[in-house]
Symmetry: C2
Subunit: 220 residues, 2 copies
DNA sequence: ACCTGAACACCGTTCAAGT
DNA sequence: ACCTGAACACCGTTCAAGT
């Protein structure tokens, strides 16, 4: 029984041969850990344990932890659905951001990583380029296109970041806590806390806000 | 010379008398630390050192670190500018969110804390109530009001969270890094990275996006 | 070339003890 | 009642050493 016993990892860790450790295997192990237990579990030490290797062995393949996280995020960016192609740039933009939202909503750990300051790397740039092209086709000049791009990303990222708090399970506890010490003078807040949310409401609210935003950003 | 020497703290730390440590002084010290050095510096151990006290002494006044951070955020919420009073609910809403943005933009550490998952406590609720009231006056029913509230907060929070990345100093290094390994096929991304940003552009872009969003959310 | 061992400078938090 | 001391179970990362 080594120190990594009981982790339930799929990777054999008994005895790694020389050269068996690669950058890809490290990034992959980080992703599996993140999917199973969230970004808090993604530590150099745990990834190393999962691979049956010393923490320091990872530094052969990346210069620090941030590089690992960015590599993990880049993998997610590469798996983004293709940008929608269509005649109406406005509808394409809506679909592009819905696709982006849905994709990231399925990887809460990626949102967690972005949230704590890590950023997408190069792999996300083609998607950005495509969005900027759609904004151009919609009639925005360079400066307005950039401003619209940021507005759309702010909205999308803010939404994704707030998702955990709107999940029913987290919502009950949190709202109960907030409202426990009295709600005199806060009738609307109280009613908002009591409004039922169904699965999928997050996505629907995102789409509604997105349409509102696009309506105000695009000409016509 | 105690172990806290050289930190440049204003609080005398030579010999604390019994009862000199209070919840307020702990929260205050946390805020000063956060303002000077960011949230990374706000550790139980450093706050304690700053107060000339053992880390464990803080646990007399709060049950864990999160309680300290929430208390710090609540202080910020209490210092929010009053909600604008006026005839036009739409303009009041715009001013309310600009006020919220400007207030939080002045406390980057608070955004950092929200970003890493900590949440506002009760002190923020009166502000939320005021916004919901304005949305009601603007003609939205309960459900639409809630949806609009979330859309506005997502946009605002996403903006605040992205602010550090748009600061000129961070922007240069990051864009240079992203674009260093070639920008073939990414002309728009490249030009966006080169577009100059002036101080205050963040605020102006926020206002523009906010108006677009409000235009789409409110009736009329 | 690739990996290990030991160490450094940190964390939040527990438990038992001092005054 | 209020605070301390020592310890536990962690971090990321460095440097020197092994094979």
């Amino acid at each position: 029984m080594s120190s990594t016993a009981g982790l339930g990892n799929e990777v054999p860790y008994r005895r790694r041969r020389r050269g068996a450790l690669s950058r890809a295997s490290v990034v992959d192990t980080g992703r599996r850990l993140a999917e199973r237990e969230g970004m808090d579990a993604v530590t150099i030490r745990r990834v190393a344990a999962e691979l049956g290797v010393t923490p320091m062995a990872l530094y052969r393949h990346m210069s620090d932890k941030q590089e690992l996280v960015v590599a993990m995020l880049d993998d997610v960016a590469r798996e983004l659905p293709p940008l929608p192609a269509g005649e109406d740039p406005r509808e394409c933009l809506a679909l592009a951001f819905v696709g982006l939202r849905d994709h990231l909503a399925l990887s809460p750990w990626a949102v967690e990583a972005l949230r704590s300051g890590d950023l997408f790397g190069r792999a996300a740039l083609p998607y950005v380029e495509g969005v900027l092209e759609l904004l151009e086709r919609a009639g925005l000049d360079e400066r307005r296109g950039m401003e619209a791009y940021w507005a759309l990303w702010w909205f999308t990222f803010g939404h994704l970041t707030s998702l955990p708090a709107t999940l029913p399970e987290n919502r009950r506890g949190r709202m109960a806590l907030l409202l426990s010490s009295g709600t005199e003078g806060l009738p609307r807040v109280r009613r908002m806390g009591e409004l039922p949310l169904r699965p999928g409401d997050g996505g629907r609210m995102f789409r509604a806000g997105l349409d509102a935003l696009l309506g105000g950003l695009l000409p016509g």
